[in-house]
């Protein structure tokens, strides 16, 4: 069957069961949008306020559903506006296919209108990228993009399609849906020593990251924890893999991790690290990470082995496959003394209670309570993000979406929109701060246009809270540019966009606002006025260890 490039693009999307695309039209993609118009019964396109919002939406869609997110933008500024979203997905290993239009091949390299070398720009932030120069290559290139995005450690792939390719005609033959390439093969003998080390450990701990989430290895981790009686801690990327109330779950590790988790790792004799890259937010001082422990690393990406922290044993493989084999081999065990010791490490961080004011923990408690166990949370970046990671009641890995690696302020709104569209969950909570919110609050128009039940809860401390916290602690309270004197009236702005707006100063007001917003079933903003002196605690300063932990 002879089709033009745009129709072939649609066909390959359909081959890969893509029914949702985020994007923004423009000159170089007019042909593609014409094909989308003709296929709107099969592929639903969501237009955002800004291409960055679309890229975050594709990311949120992918994280919440496990499917590949697809984003489409025009050439030039359309393409460059995707960059932050692609980099965010790259750092957090999110499968995404970004499709950009470009000027026609005869115009490439001539600084034509809206021409940009997007494959050059995105080289270090994609798993791979392509320019399609021949119509005959288009279908296979797109198929390859889908395959690369989902194989091994997932990530974003960009395909740049010049305008004349979208109009050129060639023969199209249908293909089946792309499946991931085979995972790295590991040998069973690799386990021999590791199993001994684990069986003989007196103070073992499991520490896991986003790789566990990506490979759905939560259940098997849980079984290993129970079978060998091992405590576990996790990175922010793996929040929700274990239930928040599971006694062996020590919570977050690292800079703003729990006292118990950090002390446990620092005193452990064996650390089993799964699907984590020992980032500088977890191993703040890499040479002092778990100084008394034999380190075992399990990761699907060979290049993560020993990259940041040198380990004693490793297995390259998919977390679920490796852990399943490990579960068979390790002994049932008891570590009562170790758990007794860990219980003594546990320290609750004091927070103000009993007054009528809104405190961050209280905000998270109320959201958790009203959202219930199926609550889907998307955060932005900063203090509110840490409070959300620490205090929300996580029960499912795919229910907590946050920009961990890149730390993208402005990620939340787009991602919440994508997650809501992908899951249909009512509502999705977008938890943000006044700093992050101002970056991409324009996506309110998207939430309004499609009437998406995304409730944005903005913790407003009239400051760039995390920056300010560092300035307070480490820069002699010189609050350089972290206290912007903004005059934003959130209720009016929300209403101006066609949303419900609420502003709250007390717990009761907040509870009532959330209940009302949930009842209304559409998009809403809820401003929570909090004290700017609230800190995220505990905190280990950059390059420090558990001994440097600040708890009050």
């Amino acid at each position: 069957m002879k089709l033009n490039g745009s129709e072939i693009l649609v066909k390959v999307l359909l081959e890969n069961e893509v029914d949702t695309v985020f994007g923004y039209p423009g000159g170089a993609v007019l042909n593609i949008y014409d094909a989308l118009y003709k296929n709107q019964d099969k592929i639903k396109h969501y237009t955002t306020a800004h291409e960055q919002g679309a890229s975050h939406a594709a990311d949120g869609y992918a994280r919440a559903t496990g499917k590949t997110g697809v984003v489409l933008a025009t050439s030039g500024p359309g393409a460059t506006n995707l960059v932050t979203g692609i980099a965010t997905a790259y750092m957090d290993s999110v499968p995404m296919v970004a499709i950009t239009g470009n000027v026609g091949i005869p115009l490439i390299g001539r600084d034509s209108f809206q021409e940009v070398y997007i494959t050059g720009i995105t080289l270090p932030i994609t798993k791979h990228n392509f320019v399609v120069r021949k119509i005959e290559d288009l279908a296979d290139t797109l198929r390859q993009a889908f395959k690369i995005a989902i194989s091994g450690r997932p990530g974003p792939v960009l395909v740049d399609i010049p305008k004349d390719i979208t109009a050129a005609v060639t023969e199209y033959e249908p293909h089946p849906k792309q499946i991931p390439e085979k995972n790295p093969v590991f040998k069973l003998t690799d386990f021999d020593e590791i199993v001994d080390v684990i069986n003989n450990a007196q103070k073992p701990v499991i520490f896991f990251g986003g790789g566990v989430k990506n490979s759905n290895a939560g259940k098997v981790i849980e079984r290993i924890i129970k079978k060998a009686d091992i405590p576990a801690t996790h990175t922010m990327m793996a929040s929700g893999v274990l239930r928040y109330d599971m006694p062996e779950n020590l919570g977050l590790l690292g800079m703003h991790g729990s006292v118990a988790a950090n002390k446990t790792v620092s005193q452990a004799d064996v650390v089993i690290a799964v699907g984590s890259r020992f980032s500088d937010r977890v191993a703040l001082a890499p040479s002092k990470f778990a100084p008394n422990a034999k380190l075992i690393q399990i990761d699907i990406d060979q290049s993560e082995i020993d990259k940041n922290v040198k380990t004693d044993y490793h297995i390259v493989g998919e977390a679920e496959e490796v852990l399943t084999k490990l579960e068979e081999r390790i002994n049932e065990n008891k570590h009562d003394d170790w758990f007794k010791q860990i219980n003594e490490f546990k320290k609750t961080i004091a927070y103000t209670e009993g007054d009528d004011k809104l405190h961050p923990k209280k905000v998270m408690d109320i959201i958790s309570e009203l959202a219930g166990e199926d609550g889907l949370y998307v955060t932005d970046v900063g203090q509110h993000q840490m409070w959300a990671a620490q205090y929300l009641h996580h029960v499912k890995a795919e229910n907590f979406l946050t920009s961990g690696g890149l730390g993208t302020m402005g990620y939340g709104y787009g991602a919440a929109i994508g997650a809501q569209i992908g899951t249909g969950r009512k509502p999705v909570f977008h938890i943000t701060g006044d700093g992050s919110f101002h970056m991409n609050m324009n996506e309110a128009c998207t939430a309004a246009s499609y009437n998406l039940p995304v409730i944005s809860v903005c913790l407003n401390n009239s400051a760039l809270g995390m920056v300010r916290q560092w300035q307070k602690m480490f820069y002699g309270k010189r609050y350089s540019q972290s206290e912007p004197d903004r005059k934003t009236n959130y209720v009016k702005v929300a209403e101006g966009f066609g949303l419900k707006g609420y502003s709250c100063k007390t717990e009761d007001e907040f509870r009532a606002a959330v209940e009302d917003a949930m009842k209304c079933g559409g998009p809403a903003w809820i401003e929570c006025i909090i004290d700017r002196e609230e800190n995220v605690l505990p905190m280990i300063p950059n390059g420090g260890t558990v001994d440097d932990m600040i708890c009050e």
Partner: protein, 164 residues
């Protein structure tokens, strides 16, 4: 500093060198030289990387390189069992007062004279990079007008073959 040579096979696609160099710069790898050449298989290019990185860094270079879409094979070249060669072109200023000394030193390194002008001579030398270093060191009393090195290229001895 110890030098390590890596031999890499990649698909002969446009932009593959850009991808490699972007990767190396981004990760801050210590790359001393990098040469790309055609091979007997026209779909493949062979890249020879000289690095003074330590063991950990070399492991990272290898592992990160393996993630490239165009990657087809990589191995570390055993310096005791390999042929590592580089070519140098060097233009040295000289006159009647020092010409014969210059020719004598160059003769020791089997440098070939490929151009002679009134005030300069251009020599061509091939050999192991260390030999070229040594030759340049011995030219330090002369005025080098221009020089150019190709970077190392290498093959394993014997019947071994780097392939996909």
């Amino acid at each position: 500093m110890k030098k390590t040579y890596l031999s890499l096979l990649v698909d002969n696609h446009e932009g593959v060198l850009t991808r490699l160099s972007s990767l190396f710069v981004q990760r801050g790898f210590n790359i001393d030289s990098l040469t790309v050449s055609a091979t007997n298989d026209e779909t493949l290019s062979r890249v020879t990387i000289a690095t003074s990185g330590d063991e950990e860094e070399i492991k990272q270079i290898v592992n990160q390189t393996k993630k490239l879409f165009e990657y087809e094979g990589i191995f570390e070249i055993d310096p005791h069992d390999s042929l590592i060669r580089e070519l140098l072109l060097v233009k040295v200023a000289c006159d009647s007062s020092n010409r014969s000394d210059l020719l004598e030193i160059s003769g020791i390194y089997k440098a070939k004279i490929i151009d002679v002008s009134v005030g300069s001579i251009v020599f061509e030398v091939t050999g192991k990079p260390a030999k070229l270093d040594s030759y340049i060191e011995n030219l330090k009393d002369y005025c080098i007008l221009e020089m150019c090195r190709t970077g190392a290229t290498a093959l394993q001895r014997g019947d071994v073959k780097l392939s996909k």
